[in-house]
């Protein structure tokens, strides 16, 4: 399995929508064939439409707030010794996380498609919060599907969604988390695809949704590329780009512009949710060698029983608590372009403690997983190595969990 150099990764699928011949595709009911096809045609047209790109860039700059800052974590670097630790504070984006990029693009597409309603799924609540914000901004009626368990543990984001006028639909089936929210959202779309646009909250789902999300979040690495050049004069010899991976939207966006670099120069490290230390459950299909299965319309590495039932995951981080992972990451793993590892709940919490102790930064539990890996790696590496962590979410939404677990 090989990555081509001159084509964007999102376009490196075959005619059936598979990356690397086996990841992705369109495992969808007949009813969705036409809406998915229509969306595909529209998106391919829009991404080549200069006016649309201008519109996207306008909103990214003036509404989302671009670029988000790129800074060195001096104190953390000093205390750990070894590699330099830098971060891109993507959580500065409007709403407090990278999910705003995908949400904005989907709303712009929905407007062009003449749809009045937009629906989306959410785990940590960020995808839902951002979609509700963007829907309000662009005058669309919005429904958010969210697992009942997640509604309880991510209350601040739910409050924000309601404030933006979105309806939250609680999902009580299965594990009552993200996986069930995505299923329910797809079911809703099956029933309402004539009037409603669907936004899948990550680089998952049928082929076109993977592409739209990856195309949207790539804004992160477009900015970073310029920022690195400005900061270092050229691209340093040893860079490690660390990012948490749930569905994989922020990590893909964080890496995309650097795809064609040799991995010895720019290494991609994806950090999945290892779950509680004492539990056998996790949300790390790439790290722990899960098999290929079909989930939410696409084939991917997914945590499931030998028979093919999707298994329950466990993670302190609702945003990473998903049994599958983007087909793009499956492709990056098998092509050996990216390396994947996991951090436990406890490791993420101690990383959060350490980062907030030394720096004026408040990463949510999701990027805290990536910081855990940075903390592990940095002391072992030379000073000329540049570790960059995507701080893709703000911990405001985690205040209840942090209070309960850390007493802060």
């Amino acid at each position: 399995m090989k990555i081509k150099k001159d084509i964007p990764l999102i376009d490196q699928h075959d005619k059936n929508g598979f990356w690397g011949g086996k990841f992705g595709g369109n495992f969808i009911p007949e009813t969705l064939k036409k809406p998915v096809e229509d969306l595909t045609v529209l998106f391919e047209k829009l991404r080549r439409d200069k006016k649309f790109i201008k519109e996207r860039d306008y909103y990214f700059k003036n509404w989302v707030g671009s670029p988000t800052s790129f800074v060195k974590l001096e104190n953390l670097t000093k205390s750990l010794g070894g590699a330099q630790i830098w971060t891109k504070i993507v959580s500065e984006a409007n709403g407090g996380a990278h999910k705003i990029y995908n949400a904005t693009v989907h709303c712009l597409i929905a407007k062009r498609a003449g749809k009045k309603y937009i629906v989306g799924d959410t785990g940590a609540g960020y995808a839902g919060k951002m979609l509700s914000m963007a829907a309000k901004k662009f005058g669309l009626k919005c429904k958010i599907f969210m697992g009942a368990k997640d509604i309880k543990r991510q209350k601040p984001n739910c409050d924000a969604m309601k404030k933006n006028g979105a309806e939250i639909v609680p999902v009580y089936t299965g594990s009552q988390t993200l996986v069930d929210a995505v299923s329910e959202c797809m079911r809703y779309w099956v029933s309402n695809c004539d009037t409603t646009h669907m936004c899948v909250g990550s680089t998952v789902g049928p082929n076109i949704f993977v592409k739209i999300c990856g195309w949207s979040t790539s804004q992160i690495s477009r900015e970073l590329f310029i920022q690195i050049k400005k900061e270092f004069g050229s691209i340093p010899k040893k860079i490690k780009l660390l990012n948490c991976v749930g569905g994989g939207s922020s990590s893909f966006g964080f890496w995309n512009e650097f795809m064609h670099y040799n991995k010895k120069q720019i290494e991609f490290v994806g950090v999945e949710a290892g779950g509680p230390k004492q539990s056998k459950k996790h949300a790390a299909p790439l790290t722990y060698g899960s098999k290929i299965g079909i989930l939410h319309g696409a084939s991917q590495y997914v945590i499931m029983s030998p028979e093919g039932q999707i298994e329950e995951t466990e993670s302190i981080s609702a945003g990473l608590d998903y049994p599958g992972v983007s087909p793009l990451h499956c492709f990056l793993k098998d092509a050996k372009r990216a390396r994947y590892t996991a951090a436990t709940d406890e490791e993420a919490l101690s990383a959060y403690m350490l980062v907030t102790k030394f720096e004026n930064l408040n990463p949510s539990l999701e990027p805290s997983h990536a910081f855990a890996e940075a903390i592990k790696l940095a002391p072992k590496l030379s000073k000329d190595t540049v570790i960059i962590v995507n701080s893709c979410g703000d911990a405001h939404k985690d205040k209840d969990i942090l209070k309960q677990r850390l007493g802060i």
């Binding site: 059936n16 595709g25 369109n26 495992f27 969808i28 009911p29 007949e30 009813t31 969705l32 064939k33 036409k34 809406p35 089936t173 299965g174 996986v179 299923s183 797809m186 079911r187 099956v190 029933s191 309402n192 695809c193 004539d194 098999k291 299965g293 079909i294 989930l295 939410h296 319309g297 084939s299 499931m304 030998p306 028979e307 093919g308 039932q309 999707i310």
Partner: protein, 267 residues
């Protein structure tokens, strides 16, 4: 060439000048034993039976079928059990067509060839795979045909005429028309007249194909659609099982009663 039990069933209903009644129930609902009992007892009223193999991430099922599915999964029903139920049913009713319905991941994990082997061993007559649309299903559908298992193609209100023609060309003994934009068991939000209009335009493409209508078919709506080659009742039966359990009544008897009522409405 031998004629498949599914084709024979339609030949019979056409001779009797009536629509074919097709039931859909969930394997292992509410228990493995009752699930088989239901199949055995409704077999004399229905023309074709659909039995779903379970998947816990069903992206196109409505609430009633989801309830049945989760209930059965909770009772520990496996794919192996589903084949057992099918096998036992076919042993009692060798001529009654039985179609398995479900999601592709279960087939994928079992292995396509192995899954079809299991179908053959259980004497299953046909397959419906909800999330394997045309043209992605072409290869698998051919494999099914080689094993004399009917692969049922689905059509929906969003399917274009051009696409319909291609799908119908690749179809086997039975085509399933989804009556409306909905998951299973939704309220019929389109008039029966509109559904039949669409149905007739499908029939026009190839009159020799058997086209059945499903989604939203209940005791209330069934007689208005009886012009179709066949009608599938699924969610209504699942709902009956759920209601029976709630009222502490026997789900088997109640489902049988409902099926007899449905049958009377289409005669």
């Amino acid at each position: 060439m031998t004629i498949s039990p599914i084709s024979l069933a339609f030949k019979k209903t056409k001779r009797e000048k009536r629509t074919a009644l097709i039931s859909f129930t969930v394997a292992g609902d509410n228990t493995k034993k009752n699930s088989l009992k239901i199949l055995n007892s409704i077999a004399k009223y229905v023309d074709i039976l659909e039995l779903s193999f379970l998947h816990n991430c069903p992206i196109a099922d409505g609430g009633q079928i989801q309830n049945s599915t989760y209930r059965s999964l909770k009772n520990g029903t496996t794919l192996k059990d589903t084949f057992q139920i099918a096998k036992r049913f076919k042993k009692n009713n060798p001529k009654k067509p039985l179609i398995l319905m479900g999601y592709y991941n279960l087939i994928y994990q079992n292995g396509e060839n192995n899954f079809l082997k299991n179908c053959k061993l259980s004497k299953v007559d046909g397959l419906i795979v909800v999330d394997l649309p045309w043209p992605e299903n072409k290869k698998f559908a051919q494999k099914c045909k080689k094993k004399s298992i009917s692969f049922v193609q689905l059509l929906s209100p969003t399917t274009s005429k051009e696409r319909m023609k291609k799908i119908i060309k690749d179809s086997h003994d039975m085509i399933y028309y989804i009556s409306m934009l909905s998951t299973t068991g939704g309220k019929l939000k389109v008039s029966s007249k509109k559904i039949l209009e669409k149905y007739l335009s499908i029939k026009k493409i190839n009159r020799s194909k058997n086209v059945v209508i499903g989604f939203g078919i209940t005791e209330k709506t069934i007689s208005s659609l009886k012009k179709a080659d066949g009608l599938v009742v699924g969610s209504a039966l699942c709902k009956k099982i759920s209601e029976s359990l709630k009222k502490r009544q026997n789900p088997v008897t109640n489902v049988v009663k409902m099926v007899t009522r449905l049958k009377n409405k289409i005669l």
